[in-house]
Symmetry: C2
Subunit: 298 residues, 2 copies
Amino acid sequence: MTAANFADRAIEALRAKGHPLCVGFDPYPEMIPALFGDARADVGAVEKFFAEILPIAARHAVAVKPQMGFFEPYGEDGYGLARRLCAEAKAQKLIVILDAKRGDIGSTAEGYARAAFGPAPGFDADAVTVNPYLGIDGLLPFFDVAEKRGKAVITLVRTSNQGARDLQDVVVGNRPFWERAADMIAPLAPRLMGESGWSGAMAVIGATWPKEAIRARTLLPKSLFLIPGYGAQGAGPADAVAGFVPGPAGREGGFVSSSRAVLYPKEANEAKTMPSWRAAVDKAMSEAALALRQALSG
Amino acid sequence: MTAANFADRAIEALRAKGHPLCVGFDPYPEMIPALFGDARADVGAVEKFFAEILPIAARHAVAVKPQMGFFEPYGEDGYGLARRLCAEAKAQKLIVILDAKRGDIGSTAEGYARAAFGPAPGFDADAVTVNPYLGIDGLLPFFDVAEKRGKAVITLVRTSNQGARDLQDVVVGNRPFWERAADMIAPLAPRLMGESGWSGAMAVIGATWPKEAIRARTLLPKSLFLIPGYGAQGAGPADAVAGFVPGPAGREGGFVSSSRAVLYPKEANEAKTMPSWRAAVDKAMSEAALALRQALSG
């Protein structure tokens, strides 16, 4: 049995919302307000924090993106919490992108794919981020499971950090190296293609580099993008949607992720009560969504 | 407080054993014998299996390498089991290499580093494998924690799979791309250098490519190597130690990892009783160690 195609589900949700906001779930232990407890010592504080974040995200965002690097320091309790949050986010009709940046070969990659996409005790996430360094045989096991289960595989192509220059921008025959990663996944797009014409053979394209996003769009015309780096990492809304193209309901082409700016806005950090904290987070997410919507219509 | 340097601890253990065998903990659910239960349905079977593997590995190997991609499909129970196995292996004086192939940027990489190297609920592993695609700022957080806690960071440089050709072997100015990854970590070797002259700025160099191992040794003269692909992936003992160099107690230079060939040898899979299973695994590990010892003296 083949599940409903991810790209079709995603583009329908994106068009319905009218903006591509994805809320990154990055539990910085020292940034979670004391209202929730001490997240440096207690994963319970992280759980309480996201129990409050989830319904606000469900109002304003299309997707959420739990970042495993922030959950794993809590050991199996953090791992389990991330898994429960994925299930709760799906119950609230959010698309779930597991930001795990996994990458290995053969049967090991298959294990990671089952963990990310499989039913409990798997994450049953809609999409997972993967690293291309090991080559095509590290990616195919993810595509195999994704195809069967209606999921998306999001390959790191051009990331948003300064260090992306070290390897990704090495020039090979007049082209930056990251274009080789794009070339590697382009032929896989048909495997996860929806009736919408979009594919779940997705790519991470950092928002801090709008020129790269435009170039990546020409290399991967059918791939939805995951665009991190919006907000705290310095990219503005226009930069973030540089790789979007005209669609039936306005410009479209992927998800734009914001984490710190919408989880820990200054007003929320200074809030003394839960209602004022909630209002401040609601405002931050609402404004982030609005700015993206305006960038798409402008 | 700075903990004892990893490279010094490792080289002492390697010289004492006289061979570099590392046993990969790859729990293939369908390969774990029915003697232990059904590992496809029950993580308890995996736990029983490794409870028996551990003392045999402690007799024959220098290190063990739990592969997270095989534990994560069991959810938080698998994650927790991997963590307990690390603790038990350390209690049995084995060096613990966490094969997680993590890789992210900034504070996320810091989270993964704390998970891998930190005390409980962290893994407190001696070393962790990391992916270089995101650049130096994805590696430095691992080096920061490793330096403080006497650990090693094992960067994927040239892997053992066929797909390694797709990106790692792309030619850039007459050199394969993987040499750029080697160039990136070479300047970090002094940060994890021991009095032995070896460094915990380690590199994964696939055993199936002995020419690459020799070349990698010239680029990373002080780095201990982790060499996977010995045994089931087809590399022989001489190929596996191609990157080793003369030392005071014979040739040395890293760990050679074998998984399927020593966990699931044919005789063990056919064993009807625990004693005969134990004897078969003992024999497989003993032979793998002996073959490596002979390759080093030959």
